[in-house]
Symmetry: C2
Subunit: 412 residues, 2 copies
């Protein structure tokens, strides 16, 4: 008998019928003898509806109260799922974040889980119940309701799996698993059977929307095997697991892209010690995440400093840079919001040289100009013209994954 944590996302519980289908699926799993903890998100669209109410009330609504408001989304779902399970003859009980002490810090809207009291869940499981837990929410040290940020239910599920020493954590979603690329723009993309935490972390941070990045960090830290699969089929999905020996055989396991990038360049700024700190200090203070940074020194003692920020933060970042450009002695500021980032990710890069060079060549062969480059141990990212994104993804998928190379993809 195993203990499994299952998580169903907003689309999977989008209406009464879908919740009833989830209940039927849960009841079937339970009938095999496994103990089950089920984590659910708010019904699709509900969190946005609630945030809309808050914004209607005030554009800059109080953070604590916004969390009280949006935490109701998951509360509705756990109650409805528990009702459906009991109606199907499957004993069940729902718990909210505060009832199982999903203890977080007090960063409303983006709280981090510190601990979970497994006691109450254990008692309810021992009594034969399926335990339904509200995802996305917790409670801080002063009994205030907190929420974990977009996709936070993934993290709730993984944290519960870690706290309960579960045998696995299944993430049910509206896609069949993790794909080698986005099937909407890359028809050859195929589902991966297995992927390492490290690769998944890179893919998540590079724009793949399947899992919240923090949930992958959590799973890695506590060695929780994740199984990403579809609510709407019985097929196996993708396992996200510890690195395995054979994984290094695959050079590139995924090609991903992110259109949410905007580029800012400080032109011909005198290259002095402390320049980067003076540029990026105010941007960090404004809580803007800078993604890629490139600095090229030229012979005349000046440098072009280029970086990217999320499109939503572009105007604010630009205002901060323009306010400082004269002090920094820059000749000017150049911007481009029609850019996107394309990346390849794979454990095999660690041991095999020349992957980056092969990537640049593949892009050059179809005439795509590379504006920025950034590399890590297991990924290479380039910034290109926004209009070249789809071509770049397809070319790289062909070059590195194609048909033959996809030894980890389904059916190969």
């Amino acid at each position: 008998m195993s203990l499994i944590v299952q998580k169903y996302g907003g689309t999977s519980v989008g209406d009464v019928d879908r919740i009833r289908n989830v209940a039927a699926r849960v009841a079937r799993c339970r009938a095999t003898g496994d103990d089950l903890v089920v984590v659910v998100s708010a019904m699709a669209g509900e969190t946005n509806r609630l945030l809309g109410l808050a914004t209607q009330m005030h554009p800059d609504a109080d953070g604590r109260e916004k969390d009280v408001l949006i935490a109701t989304g998951e509360q509705v779902t756990v109650a409805l799922l528990a009702i459906a399970l009991k109606a199907a003859g499957c004993p069940a009980v729902s718990f909210l974040g505060h009832q199982v002490r999903i203890a977080t810090d007090s960063a409303f809207g983006k709280a981090r889980i510190k601990s979970i009291d497994a006691g109450r869940i254990g008692t309810a499981l021992a009594a034969g119940n399926v335990v339904v837990v509200a995802g996305f929410q917790g409670v801080d040290g002063n009994d205030n309701i907190t929420t974990l940020g977009r996709g936070g239910s993934d993290t709730s599920a993984v944290a519960l799996a870690a706290a309960l020493h579960a045998d696995g954590c299944e993430i049910y979603t509206d896609v069949e698993g993790v794909f080698t690329s986005d099937p909407r723009i890359c028809p050859d993309a195929r589902k991966l059977d297995r992927i390492s935490y490290e690769e998944m972390l890179e893919l998540a941070s590079l724009g793949a929307k399947v899992l919240q990045i923090r949930s992958v960090e959590f799973a890695k830290r506590y060695s929780v095997p994740l199984h990403v699969r579809s609510t709407f089929s019985e097929a196996e999905g993708t396992w996200v697991v510890e690195e395995e020996a054979s994984m290094e055989d695959v050079l590139v396991s995924g090609v991903t892209y992110d259109r949410d990038e905007a580029k800012i360049t400080l032109v011909r700024v005198p290259d002095q010690p402390g320049l980067a700190a003076r540029v990026f200090g105010p941007i960090a203070d404004a809580n803007i995440g800078v993604d890629m940074i490139i600095q090229n020194a030229s012979a005349d003692g000046t440098t072009d400093l280029t970086f990217t920020v999320p499109k939503a933060d572009f105007r604010q970042a630009l205002a901060l840079i323009e306010a400082h450009a004269r002090d920094l002695g820059a000749e000017g500021v150049r911007t481009d919001i029609d850019v996107a980032k394309v990346s390849i990710v794979g454990l095999g890069m660690r041991s095999q040289a020349g992957v980056a060079a092969a990537m640049f060549r593949a892009l050059a062969d179809v005439g795509i100009n590379i504006q920025m480059i950034s590399t890590s141990e297991i990924k290479v990212s380039v910034v290109v013209d926004a209009k070249s994104v789809e071509l770049a993804v397809r070319v790289l998928h062909d070059a590195f994954i194609g048909d033959k190379q996809a030894s980890r993809a389904e059916g190969v």
Copy 2:
């Protein structure tokens, strides 16, 4: 400086604009220097919407989970009101039932408040906040969410006023106070300035919808002065208070009616000791509340036993009676669902004889037949044909309240 508990009902917080208006009103009160605890209901229609989801999921949804579900209604409102107050520059903090330990029994859907932890509210008030508390909800001894039943937010407000030793409890609603009768069918009906707890209890139990009956019991037990008034005007409403000497001068303070009655008669049943217990035992076991009961013995040793039940319980009660009628030796069962109850209530009846007789005469004068009669110390109720209700109410209002007699009504 006083401590006031204010309660705003579902219509008063029916949309974002109305919540903003409530916030403005609360902020004005706060500006006078009073400490304020504000209890709110769910936005009008929200509780029914949530119950609809539960019923869609299963016609007989689990009680514990239904409470988890519908408690979200008030949670949304407290958050939005706190956001609106802060946006208006008025420091505020919201609390849910479990956060201020509104401790109840475990009767889901109709829980009763046992105690309230005033500590956290006191601390928040001392810090200068308006404290916004979710009505209708509490938490049982096992940290399960409970709800108090329809109109339960009134009781939440009164219980908070009692626990906090507040100087008063204002119940804001969509009418201007307690009226001598229903203005929709009795154009002469006028607002009462003051009414005793006892009279209000009778009026509430007889069908007046202004206050939940349990909230009046609570207010009476803890001597909390209630002020029922309109959210949409600045006018004084009706004070519900301890009995005052002058109140007995008024024979009848209100005329009320209840169309939610159905009548069942056991015809010519042998009159034996224990008959009533055998008839009403199974009905009580089915949790059906019987209102009026009349038994008339005749000379031949048989009796007609007549009683009324709420229309919603009529079919079930009838089935129980028919199942037993033969055992009881009854000749048959007669029913009538086209009946209604009309009542007069007033402290003056206690000391003055002949009020009931005057009531019967007034009804006889207009040809209304009385089917059943029930009296208490301060009320007389009669059951009449449903089609005679409006005439009966107007005739009795004319006879006992009219213009001259209404010494407690506004402007007299």
